[in-house]
């Protein structure tokens, strides 16, 4: 396709042009450190061109280039200071040439204000390796800031950290990921001292209601940062009460160094932050890819990057993960410790948190030393949990915690290690994010076939392995149904968002349960046999857990609902009511849910509604499940059997 003489000519022309530019460009362009050795620069540019470095994967990884749909490249990076050429965002070759040129200069560039050799140290090292820089003609600059920064990590290996989903904060609904740079000589006890590499959007404190919209559509800039891991543990484990999973990655020390060099460059970078795709997880994958260019990670995510998916992807690469560690949230530590106690002692521990007088009671005094220590530790965990999750905790909780701890210190015995078994297994064992289903069934006196596609993420009846228990987030789901007798194909259901969080209440935990649903469904109402009905429903309530079978959750909601459909007089109705229900794990594979709802509508069409739902799921494999669901409304019965696949 490309005949050689043309390429040759083009290259000569290109070099002549460059020479011209270099010779006649104003001196300021040549940098503060004196004019570069033009001949050598041209030589290097020529060498790079011959070796086609600008089209190599590593160069594209360094500059975060992505192939455009219609050819060419664009960098995902959005800070102009990241590029040495004004055309750098879309022109890998121009950027490479300009980068080489800038290496001759001591001019401070980028947001980090360093000479290019130091600000873009990974680029420098890669080009040096490929082009074999002659240090006498392109003097190597000392990069003390980088060296100091790098040495402080005492880097030995990399761990991918996954704080699990946290429903009560929309930004954390899908979990989060970041990297921990493990130190030489680090032990299990001192890993909190390691530093992390984290990518997050910078959201101004007064963001207000624009926050979710701008967060989704790239209205904020994302930056890389390095928090000490102990601050991250505090944030996720202590305050938000999220379990943390740690995946030790099998990287060589050389790869760890590459990752840190590129991270250092990222100090000059800013990316438009897109909540669903170019988010925390996505950009971490890019760092990992640079550490080991044989890994292909970001290519796997086209539309969205769900943190749990990235964990699944990394765990699926043979030999990449060398170990998995679990760090329970404080609330789960409390739950497991309570489970380990007989009822009497469990209650005693709880009474201590309310009345310090219990410490001198015979019931407490008669316990052996180890048991006393255990109860006091549990009491302190609980008091800390209360203090750290409340908005304005009363001072007396803190004082009571001090008193409990003082009593604890007087026992003069170290606490025994308590192993916490996670309630939810690690995320890579869970089903994939998207779901497709085919099924069929009966509705009243008709039969139908149905196809459903759901973008994400998990509902209460889906296989629970690897997901936050009792939490549901359904986003973007559409069901297409064909009714055989009526010979009609229609959109049966569509969900924009259907989020539900059940938090079992006991003597220790009191968080409310809540739900929110926005979507449409098909109803039979008044004269209309099949009518689309827009639904908006919000509810708040409580849940309780029991262990009669395997595990059951009973719940009740008070709720408000607004409907819009041509089936109603006045086209709409607004009302309120309640739902009671239960969710039952019968076996590891089999789960049942049943709910009953009563709603009375006072605005718009005056009417009321009684609904029943019974659903049953059987897990066939990690990504396959069978469902049988029965929906009842006034004179409207619907039975659906379906096969679901996660992908």
């Amino acid at each position: 396709m490309n005949s050689k003489p043309y390429v040759f000519l083009a290259r000569r022309l290109y070099i002549a042009l460059l020479l011209f530019l270099l010779l006649f460009a104003p001196p300021s362009l040549a940098g503060a450190g004196g004019p570069p050795e033009h001949g050598y620069l041209v030589e290097l540019i020529d060498k790079a061109l011959q070796a086609k470095l600008a089209s190599e994967r590593e160069w594209h990884l360094l500059l975060h280039y992505r192939e455009n749909i219609f050819g060419g490249h664009t960098s995902e990076q959005d800070d102009p200071g990241f590029f040495m050429s004004p055309a750098g965002k879309t022109d890998p070759q121009a950027e490479l040439d300009a980068t080489l040129k800038q290496f001759f200069s001591e001019e401070l560039v980028g947001r980090s204000n360093q000479p290019a050799q130091c600000a873009f140290i990974a680029r420098y090292h890669w080009l040096q390796e490929r082009l074999q820089f002659d240090d006498s003609r392109l003097p190597k600059l000392a990069c003390e800031r980088f060296d100091r920064w790098f040495n402080d990590f005492e880097a030995h290996s990399i761990t991918l950290i996954f704080p699990s989903a946290f429903l009560n904060n929309p930004a954390s609904m899908f979990g989060h990921t970041f990297l921990r740079i493990d130190q030489k000589g680090q032990t299990e006890q001192t890993r909190i001292l390691a530093n992390t590499i984290n990518f997050a959007a910078y959201v101004p404190p007064d963001a207000g209601i624009a926050y979710p919209i701008r967060g989704i559509f790239g209205g904020y800039s994302g930056y890389f940062s390095t928090y000490p891991y102990y601050l991250k543990v505090q944030e996720y484990r202590d305050i938000e009460n999220r379990d943390i999973w740690e995946y030790r990655l099998n990287f060589t020390e050389h790869q760890v160094r590459r990752l840190l060099m590129h991270s250092w460059e990222m100090g000059n970078a800013a990316f438009d932050y897109f909540f669903f795709k170019e988010n925390c997880s996505y950009h971490l994958l890019a760092l990992l890819e640079y550490a080991d260019p044989t890994l292909h990670l970001t290519d796997e995510f086209l539309v969205w990057t769900v943190p749990a998916d990235t964990v699944r992807l990394i765990a699926s690469k043979p030999g990449l993960v060398s170990g998995i560690a679990y760090r329970p949230s404080r609330s789960n530590v409390i739950r497991r410790k309570r489970e380990a106690l007989p009822v009497g002692e469990r209650e005693l521990a709880h009474r201590i948190t309310q009345d310090l007088g219990e410490l001198t009671s015979p019931a407490f005094a008669q316990l052996d030393l180890k048991k006393q220590a255990f109860l006091l530790d549990l009491a302190s965990d609980y008091l800390r949990y209360r203090s750290e999750t409340a908005d304005s905790p009363p001072l007396e909780w803190k004082e009571r915690n001090r008193a409990v701890l003082t009593a604890r210190s007087q026992l003069r015995t170290p606490s025994e290690e308590f192993k916490v078994v996670p309630f939810a297994k690690q995320p890579e064992l869970g089903h994939k994010t998207s779901r497709a289903a085919v099924g069929g069934g009966w509705r009243n006196n008709d039969t139908f076939e149905e196809v459903t596609v759901r973008a994400g993420y998990h509902d209460l009846l889906d296989p629970e392995v690897g997901y936050t228990p009792d939490a549901q987030i359904e986003i973007a789901s559409v069901s297409l149904r064909h009714y055989n007798r009526m010979d009609q194909t229609r959109i049966e259901r569509a969900t924009l968002a259907n989020v539900l969080s059940l938090s079992p209440i006991d003597s220790v935990f009191h968080a409310p349960s809540w739900k929110l649903n926005v979507g449409m469904e098909t109803i039979k109402h008044n004269e209309c046999q099949l009518c689309s009905n827009g639904v908006m429903n919000v509810g708040i309530g409580g849940a309780m857990e029991s262990r009669l079978l395997k595990r059951e959750i009973l719940f009740a909601f008070g709720e408000a609902e607004a409907n819009h459909s041509r089936a109603y007089e006045e086209q709409h109705r607004i009302g309120g009511g309640g739902t009671v229900g239960m969710l039952v794990d019968v076996t590891d594979q089999w789960k049942i849910m049943a709910t009953g709802t009563y709603l009375k509508y006072g605005l718009g069409e005056q009417s009321d509604d009684v609904r029943w739902f019974v659903g049953s799921r059987y897990t066939v494999a990690q990504n396959w499940a069978l469902r049988l669901e029965y929906n009842h409304r006034d004179h409207d019965n619907d039975v659906l059997f379906s096969l679901q696949a996660f992908f």
Partner: protein, 172 residues
């Protein structure tokens, strides 16, 4: 309260870096220097007051002011003049983890306590003795620590210096 503390740390450093040269992006670069630590210890702050002053944000993940820890500010990469940075690191750690430390000192073990011991140069084989010592002196250490976590670190240091087991470690 923990919320307040984390925010205090982050915001304090943020405010600190703003004193230097501000950049268009809102990310300031103070160049080398312990952005965070420097600001935390400048006035040996009373934590509660700072917590109140700084409580202007929430800790929800993307909302944490991350300037303090931006790679360009170099919370790492402090001027590594040996002991000064080591001390600052210990103080910073004690300040940020005071609640966990106080719990673990009473319990005679824990990762925060082990990490503090490591930062203070206590050898792994002496950790058990270190834990026993902080458990024994719990009341007085916490009283000191509530006024100022830095003073607590100093008190632990003094205790180490006079403790037969650690005499060697502190002499390092």
């Amino acid at each position: 309260m923990r919320k307040g503390l984390i925010i205090a740390l982050a915001v304090m450093a943020f405010v600190g870096t703003q004193v230097g040269i501000g950049f268009a992006m809102g990310i300031a670069d103070t160049g080398p220097g312990c952005g965070l630590g420097k600001e935390v210890w400048k006035n040996d702050p009373h934590t509660d007051n700072i917590g109140k002053q700084m409580l202007i944000s929430t800790t929800n993940n993307p909302i944490i002011p991350l300037q303090a820890f931006a790679i360009t500010t170099g919370t790492l990469g402090c001027k590594n003049s040996g002991k000064v940075w080591v001390e600052e690191r210990v103080n910073m750690f004690a300040f940020a983890n005071f609640e966990s430390l106080s719990q673990e000192m009473a319990q005679g073990q824990g990762e925060h306590l082990a990490s503090l011991a490591t930062l203070m140069g206590v050898l792994p084989e002496q950790h058990a003795a270190f834990f026993a010592m902080t458990q024994e002196r719990y009341s007085s250490l916490i009283k000191t620590g509530e006024a100022s976590p830095i003073a607590m670190v100093k008190a632990i240091n003094d205790a180490i210096a006079t403790h037969p087991v650690f005499a060697q470690a502190s002499a390092r």
